[in-house]
């Protein structure tokens, strides 16, 4: 059985690494792939002259020029559709959607083109859509987490990483992939530092990573919430043996790693930043119920955002999504009978 990558402290010493911010890890991935393949181009609002709202594309215009890096008007449905058309004739566009909230006006190319063309045409469609999201910000229109919309669609890869190495390595793999890839990012962790390999950094799409091995409970998460899961896990050290699984790729989901973990622990908690109702966590729970429900020793549980639009005031935001405290409390509740 294939199981996901397991954290190996000795391996970290073997290969030299560098410490970079997560947005810089994305920038390195884009730049290296543009260097490697002249058909890779970057498209989006303010990605060129301004360098991206969160500086992910900073410097790419100067390095690769206006025939590789396009600033667009505020026209998500237009430029995302155009990028699909470019991918169909031999280019490999990487599109930036500035906020996940703007997916509302960009969904037609995703639903009608990206999620339809490869199957109906029986062909490749090498396009990457980078979608920056996360709760909190300037308004209820700058704070959504909408991966469930994307995961519901057929034939589309959805990636949602949480570490510097995955930001870089999975984005590079996404750019090289023959499939359309929807690549979700969390601006709240852009400024965090993490280790990336000094040499080539490519991560396998479709593999979960076991960030910490444990025996009492499996806690699965992705993106920004993964960082909170690891903090909660750390706080419970010595009391509860948590197996923390970073899903990294939501579609296709690494069920082997998840199932292997749940068969061992008998308990499953899924933590997501998006609204809990009809979220991706529900799919994880359903699939575990289908594949190894008989191994569950207690009812699985989900944590997610409360079922309201994201309010503006920070006091609401703290109550809107799972925190280290609520995650820790839920793990304790689920393992109280131990």
């Amino acid at each position: 059985m294939t199981i996901g990558k397991v954290a190996d402290p000795s391996a970290a010493h073997a290969a030299p690494t560098r410490r970079v911010r997560l947005n810089a890890a994305l920038r390195e991935a884009l730049s290296e792939e543009m260097e490697r393949d002249p058909t890779v181009c970057v498209i989006g609002e303010d990605v060129g002259v301004y360098g991206g709202l969160y500086k992910v594309t900073d410097g790419l215009l100067a390095k690769y020029g206006p025939r590789r890096v396009f600033d667009t008007p505020i026209s998500e449905g237009g430029f995302l559709g155009a990028a699909v058309g470019m991918a169909m004739v031999g280019l490999r566009p990487v599109v930036e959607i500035m906020y996940a909230d703007f997916l509302g006006v960009a969904m037609d190319p995703i639903v009608s083109q990206i999620a339809t063309i490869p199957y109906v045409w029986n062909s490749d469609l090498p396009i990457v859509v980078r979608i920056q999201g996360g709760t909190g910000g300037s308004s209820p229109h700058h704070g959504k987490t909408l991966e469930a919309w994307l995961c519901h669609l057929p034939d589309t890869v959805v990636i949602y990483p949480s570490t510097a190495q995955d930001y870089k390595g999975l984005l590079k793999s996404a750019i090289r992939d023959r499939r359309p890839v929807l690549f979700c990012e969390s601006r709240h962790i852009y400024e965090r530092f993490g280790e990336v390999p000094s040499g080539e950094c490519v991560e396998e799409i479709g593999e979960a990573a076991v960030r910490q091995e444990g025996t009492d409970i499996t806690v699965a998460s992705w993106g920004r919430m993964m960082t909170r899961v690891l903090e909660a896990t750390e706080a419970l050290q010595g009391r509860v043996s948590v197996e923390a699984v970073d899903l990294r790729t939501l579609v296709p989901l690494d069920m082997d790693t998840l199932q292997h973990s749940v068969e061992k622990t008998g308990r499953l908690l899924v933590v997501q930043e998006a609204w809990k109702k009809m979220g991706f966590g529900a799919e994880v729970v359903a699939r575990i119920a289908e594949t190894c429900g008989q191994n569950l020793r207690s009812a699985p549980s989900r944590l997610g955002a409360v079922n309201h639009p994201q309010p503006f005031s920070p006091v609401f935001l703290d109550a809107a999504i799972p925190t280290v405290g609520t995650i820790q409390a839920e793990i304790e509740r689920m393992t109280a009978s131990l």
Partner: protein, 336 residues
């Protein structure tokens, strides 16, 4: 149909042979759709068939300007455009039959007819959806051509697509990026039942809107196949030299919205309008012009008609003999 490819492009539609060729293609589009309408009624063609009867001069005229490497994108009413681009009739027919031998292996149907080796990449069932994609094709033609494109993208739309966002975003991007694209708007008078005045308070001047986005505006009689062919050739030169084009081709839908149209047929069409419009039938019109000028005689008309009928019969036979798709291969080629 392969013998029809590229024929009308060498001397322009003024040469007698080219004019006869345009007639043959027009007739082919008309007779093929009539045959598919019968096949639809007989249950051989599933779904509602969206015919372009009455509008064929647009698809056939534009198609005559196509060069090797050009791309065609269409809308839901895209059969005559496909024929104009040269999509082989047997594979076209088999696709409409939903058979494995269809150009999409039965996965696409009339709305997703894509003949990749010929550059005809078909339409979309969502009105307006394909226009930004077509701009992307033209952007690719420009970028991969090192800024000097060798080819263009022809993108058809109905006038019903003039009021949805992606159309305007696409026209704006085309003007901004100066890509080699030619939008061809078939104004057939009705978006299902909605007339122009039911869709906008603005004037019936679609090309003026396009001009505001930096596109070169053209208007042409969409029932005059030779006028459309000339407009297409001029537009191609203009687009390839860096000015995207918008052609408004005024025509009329002589057919229902689709064979699935419910209620009294054409209940929204004023009494007598459609009957009067048959007076301007583009096929008959071209035939009358050519016979009147001595380019065609009755004997040649009969011979062309017989040849087209035979090609269509062969296409239908191919489709009928083509296997029904194997359901066990439903997931073949799925990516994720």
């Amino acid at each position: 149909m392969s013998d029809l490819k590229e024929v009308a492009t060498k001397a322009g539609p003024d040469a007698p042979a080219e004019r006869r060729e345009l007639y043959k293609r027009l007739l082919c589009a008309r007779m093929f759709e009539e045959r598919m309408t019968a096949a639809n009624a007989a249950g051989q063609v599933p779904g509602g068939l969206m015919q372009s009867i009455g509008q064929e001069a647009v698809g056939i005229g534009i198609g005559s300007a196509r060069r090797e490497g050009d791309i065609g994108r269409s809308w839901v009413r895209g059969i005559s455009q496909a024929i104009g681009f040269g999509l082989p009739l047997p594979e076209l027919c088999a696709e409409l039959f939903g058979r494995a031998g269809g150009v999409m292996g039965g996965r696409g149907g009339a709305q997703f007819l894509a003949w990749r080796e010929g550059g005809y990449l078909g339409g979309s069932g969502v009105v307006g959806s394909v226009l930004p994609v077509a701009v992307g094709h033209a952007m690719g033609q420009k970028l991969l051509g090192d800024g000097r494109p060798q080819n263009v993208t022809f993108c058809y739309l109905g006038e019903g697509a003039l009021h949805i966002g992606p159309t305007h975003e696409a026209m704006n991007l085309a003007g901004l990026w100066r890509v080699p694209i030619i939008f061809v708007c078939e104004d057939n008078g009705y978006a299902l039942s909605a007339t122009w005045s039911m869709q906008t308070g603005g004037p019936r001047e679609a090309a003026t809107r396009a001009k505001l986005y930096g596109l070169s505006p053209h208007e042409v009689d969409g029932n005059d196949v030779e006028a459309v062919a000339r407009a297409a050739s001029q537009a191609r030169e203009e687009a390839i030299s860096g000015r995207p084009v918008f052609i408004l081709a005024k025509t009329y839908r002589l057919a229902p919205f689709s064979t699935g149209e419910t209620g009294a047929l054409g209940s929204y069409v004023p009494a007598g309008e459609r009957e009067a419009a048959w007076e301007h039938d583009p096929v008959k019109r071209h035939e009358t012009a050519l016979t009147g000028e001595g380019v065609l005689d009755e004997e040649q008309v009969a011979a062309i008609r017989a040849e087209v009928a035979e090609n269509i019969a062969r296409a239908v036979a191919f489709a009928e003999a083509s296997p029904i798709p194997d359901v066990s291969r439903f997931g073949e080629g799925a990516l994720a």
